[in-house]
């Protein structure tokens, strides 16, 4: 069993992405919802381990404890030997490396000519970095998401992550979790038909992350416009933090930079051709 030091830092004291100094033969354990992340420093190496707890529950807060030794039964454990005797470790929030296909638990309908705004909460990837300038050792998702496929057929499309979302329309109803980002999604229906939203594809690699003073993470506002083409949607990624994130500062830049106009398979209601052959 790991012996935890007496002093335990709890959520709220400071942002989890601030730098922490680790003495040799000491370590830290963070908990972010389903993820337990271990970072342990030896004289010349860093050991990083992580494991996920099963289940859908995600407590709101996060915590960090000091460790005197690594627990023996960590599921994934890796050793890193970076150059230079770094003594600080910094976690950095990072958007997912593929698009996210958010499925509202209940389908949402947007009438022709109308516009609606929903909030999508997405788990982030945590980059473990050491030293200054930061050297990234490992990226770990807060929750392991299921793979999925977005495309008009099994031949043509892209790989994404599947995400179940409540797609809440009111910000006050959003659970406050510091290890997920909130993305305001505006959906405008410029076609003549009712637009059923049973899935929304979010181009997360193009989104930067902002943090508000109260410790919550936001991405830019994303506007999806459905015109007459049923498969593709026009996408507009806002340039700064959304207006809901008052006093936000940018923590992480986007993984990819977007060209001026992006078209994505955003609502793609598809897949009838290959749901039941044989």
């Amino acid at each position: 069993m790991p012996r935890a030091a007496e002093k335990a830092t709890t959520a709220g004291e400071s942002a989890w992405w601030s730098a922490r100094t680790v003495a040799p033969a000491r370590g830290l354990r963070w908990r972010f919802g389903p993820l337990a992340l271990f970072v342990y420093r030896l004289a010349a190496e860093w050991q990083i381990g992580y494991e996920f707890t099963a289940g859908d529950e995600e407590p709101e807060g996060w915590s960090v404890d000091e460790l005197l030794e690594l627990p023996a039964e960590v599921a994934k454990l890796e050793r890193f030997v970076p150059g230079g005797g770094h003594s600080t470790v910094t976690l950095r929030p990072q958007a997912a490396d593929r698009s996210l296909v958010a499925k509202p638990r209940m389908p949402l309908l947007v009438l022709p000519g109308e516009e609606t705004k929903i909030y999508v909460s997405a788990p982030i990837w945590i980059a473990v970095t050491v030293g200054e300038p930061a050297e990234t050792l490992r990226e770990v998702p807060v929750r392991r998401l299921s793979d999925t496929w977005v495309g008009s057929s099994t031949l043509d499309g892209e790989v994404a992550y599947a995400l179940k979302t409540h797609a809440r329309a009111r910000l006050e109803e959003m659970p406050k979790r510091t290890y997920r980002t909130i993305t305001p999604v505006v959906i405008r229906n410029e076609s003549d038909e009712v637009l059923p939203i049973d899935r929304v594809s979010l181009p997360v690699p193009y989104l930067s992350i902002w943090a508000t003073p109260d410790g919550f993470l936001w991405t830019q506002k994303v506007t999806l416009v459905r015109s007459d083409n049923p498969l593709m949607a026009g996408l507009d990624v806002g340039s700064g933090p959304p207006e809901e994130a008052v006093g936000a500062e940018r923590v992480t830049a986007a993984r990819r930079t977007a060209s001026s106009s992006l078209f994505v398979r955003a609502f793609s209601t598809l897949l009838s051709p290959f749901s039941g052959e044989d």
Binding site: S146, T148, W149, V150, G276, D278
Partner: protein, 289 residues
Amino acid sequence: MSELWTELAAYLTVEKTLALVRAAVLLVAGYLISKIVARAIGGLASGRLELQQSVLLRRVVSYLVMVLFVVAALHQLGFNLGVLLGAAGVLSVAAGFASQTSASNLVSGLFLIGERPFAIGDVIQIGGTTGEVLSIDLLSVKLRTFDNLFVRIPNETLIKTEVRTLSRFPIRRVDLQIGVAYKENIERIRELLFEVADRNPLCLDEPKPVFIFQGFGDSAVNIQFSPWALKENYLELKNTIQLEIKKAFDEKGIEIPFPHRSLYVGSATDPFPVRVVDGEAGKSVAGRS
């Protein structure tokens, strides 16, 4: 011995020696130039052509250059090329009959390179052989099987038979055949299978897994359940999900039946004679049999 030397000296006049040297220089130069040209073409073609096409182009060009220089060298040595070509015509007919198979493979190879059903690095299945394509040549395709054997398949075979390219599309379907006992509720099993697929992160959320009721078998209700995976996760999903299905079935007490056999002795109406014995006695009897 001395006669041989005098004859050789008589033959090797200054002119002949010069011609020989010229021919040798031509051959060496031809070899070097063909290598340089082939390398230059390889550099130009990389990025524009696929790997096997650029390999083929390099080979053809280097052979052509080499042939030109060999012909020039022969000309220097005083061979009459007209006669040589005539002889080559007769020879080629004979060679054509002799090398039918090679020629057919060669033509098949050209078609194969034009058609591009697979590329170097793809995983293909031909007959019973599955492997990674190492090279696509004019006469044959070389594979490395997963048990690390080198397999050469003649191009003619590839043109004639069905070839499956397993790594062509980014996603693949994993077909699982499952038999459950007749007493089970199939609707409940369907839900359970979808739950298991939903929990496995390697199983694609979309396309949805396919559930097919295959029919009433001899001893089980046969079901096909086919989740989808990225091609690189195909094997891992196939392994993990079957374990998870077995575990889920065990937890819910769902039976995967063994084949059932009903035995009759003599007439179908006569039952087996059954003798009831004590627990302890029964055990020892069973242990001995």
